[in-house]
């Protein structure tokens, strides 16, 4: 069985934020107002950590795309009292929105702080700009949500592959962020398939994972920036 993983090349990444936008519209993520965002309630499944190195005038901004790392040993699923978040056999850490009781224990347990909560009734843009992706269910107030690795895309791809009685090809199943990245910094695929791109990339010398020492086995690999 496939094990889906992502590799993000920070050397290619320009920090443009296209992945954030693509993710937001792909997954029908609610839009919170500026005051709510100020309060720390912005909702991003694909977020961008920005840190600054150095002192003025010699400052460098570091931008690192951050999403759910779909840990192989996820601390969040262990604590969920109702099984509303779980790890499926293909390694995707999934959420069941209509079962979630909103206790936010998974958010407290996640060492990467990737989960977001619907603090208020979700709102989207009004008018003609508002087009929902019909493949992704809308979440209601009071439940936790997070990146799903665009599992709805996997469902479509698998259906097509099953119909043609062939395995899923490498690069056929891509989350919205990987597809939209203009710098092609995000690769996605089955990390247990030796012919896949992510298998190749995840073995390079620049590879690191965030807080690997926690032993939660995150499945998002980063390739460090090359230094000159």
């Amino acid at each position: 069985m496939a094990k889906w993983a992502m590799v993000i090349d920070l050397d290619k990444c320009t920090g443009c934020g296209a992945c954030m936008v693509a993710c937001k519209s792909e997954n029908n993520i609610a839009i919170v107002g500026p005051d709510q965002a100020q309060q720390g309630r912005a909702m991003f499944w694909m977020d961008m950590i920005t840190t600054f190195d150095g002192e003025y005038p010699d400052v460098r901004a570091k931008r690192v795309p951050k999403l759910c790392y779909h840990c192989d040993d996820p601390p969040c699923t262990k604590v969920c009292p109702v099984g509303a978040t779980y790890r499926n056999p293909e390694g995707l850490v999934a959420q069941i929105y209509h079962r979630c009781i909103g206790c936010r224990y998974c958010m407290a347990a996640c060492p990467y702080t990737v989960k977001v909560f619907n603090w208020e009734k979700p709102q989207w843009l009004d008018g003609p700009q508002n087009t929902f992706n019909p493949d992704v269910s809308l979440r209601n107030v009071g439940v936790v949500e997070k990146c799903s690795f665009c599992a709805h895309r996997l469902a479509k791809v698998r259906e097509a592959a099953d119909h043609e009685e062939r395995p899923i090809r490498d690069g056929e199943y891509l989350p919205a962020c990987a597809e939209s990245c203009p710098a092609e910094a995000i690769s996605f695929g089955d990390i247990e398939n030796p012919d896949s791109e992510v298998y190749e990339l995840s073995r390079g010398y620049r590879v690191f994972r965030i807080m690997e020492e926690l032993g939660v086995e995150p499945k998002v690999y980063y390739l460090a920036k090359r230094t000159r």
């Binding site: 720390g40 936010r104 347990a109 619907n118 009734k121």
Partner: protein
Amino acid sequence: MATHTHAKPDQDEALVRPIYETGKGFYVSLALLLLVCVWALYMYVNQVRFGLGLTGMNQPVTWGFYIVNFVFFIGISHAGTLISAILRLSKAEWRRPITRMAEVITAIVLAIGGLHPILDLGRPDRMLNLLTAGRLQSPLLWDVTSITAYFTASTVYLYLPLIPDIARIRDRGGKLTWLYTFMAWGWQNTERQKRVLNRAINILMVIVIPIAVSVHTVISYIFSMTLQPGWHSTIFGPYFVAGAIFSGIAALLIVMIIFRKIYHLEAYLKKIHFQYLSTLLLIMSLIWFYFTFSEYLTGIFGAEPHEMDIIRYKFSGPFAAFFWAMVICNFLIPVLILSIRRFKTIAGILIASISVVIGMWLERLIIVVPSLANPRMELPMGIYVPTMLEWSLFAGGIAVFILGFMVFSKFFPLISVWEIEEGRNEGRKEVEERIHSYLPGEV
């Protein structure tokens, strides 16, 4: 003084008087407290309608006052059953006027504390998912299990020693005789009934102790089972239990002092009761300090960066005021007051107890918020400012507690009448025999 085999029926009249006589002060405070409760209910209905956005919680501080108060109230509940059971078990004669109040605190506060996680839910309508889809692997389910067990055990443990007193009120006639008749369970004070009751109480008090210990241990596990710095610590179980007993004794002392004054129970709650109990408070204060010291020293000495972020946040960062106030309230004030004889008066004990209750609440705050506000990821530090809604529900919780206690005192005696009588009739002889058995040779 000759031993009384038959106490005069009106000897302990002072204990049942509050049931029959109600002053104006009662109704005024009842009205005020009901007002607070209705306000809190209104605020909660708002929260259910509009979502948790009305609170001050956010990402990353996903837990706030509700969880703080949950831990705090459940901690207070350890006053009761645990102290009462330990005192009964160790045959401490001075327990007699104290046990009932302790048990009442437990039952009421446990109900309030147990409701707090529900206040915290984003989807309280789906609460029953805990039964249909509950995962016993989750520490939250351990909590549900052990709190319900504790609630059952402690209400039964409150009710059983109440039966002879209910029967006494039934026999006096007057108001609500049908209720007392029903609740007295046909108690006729026969030898057999007494034997069965004593046996039941004995079994329960042994069962209740491990359950009580498990409750706060499991609550600490909610935090310590996660990987978060500041929470992931083996000391948390015993630390929480010690803190719970600590705040429980303080709450019990406050309640005893206030109701002694209101209901004129000076003849029953004497200075010696307060001195014994406050010595226990002093010991718990020292134990609390020992635990706190060990917890932070290991953190500071190891100096793991994420751990240090949180310790700095508490020691000198945004939570410094709360942290040092906690140390003063939980350690300096009670130790100073309770170890100097001149200060160890009832007023002094009241001040120490109030300071401990405040200090323990601060401790719960200091455990819950800083770890969430400083996530491991390089994110901006979280800020948590509770809103009106959260303060209202906090006030509501306290109001429900006082209300529950007041209403209880209007239906049942706050001091166990039959146990006082038993102490008078049989206790003396028993203690004398016991002393004989301690000492060598014939005395």
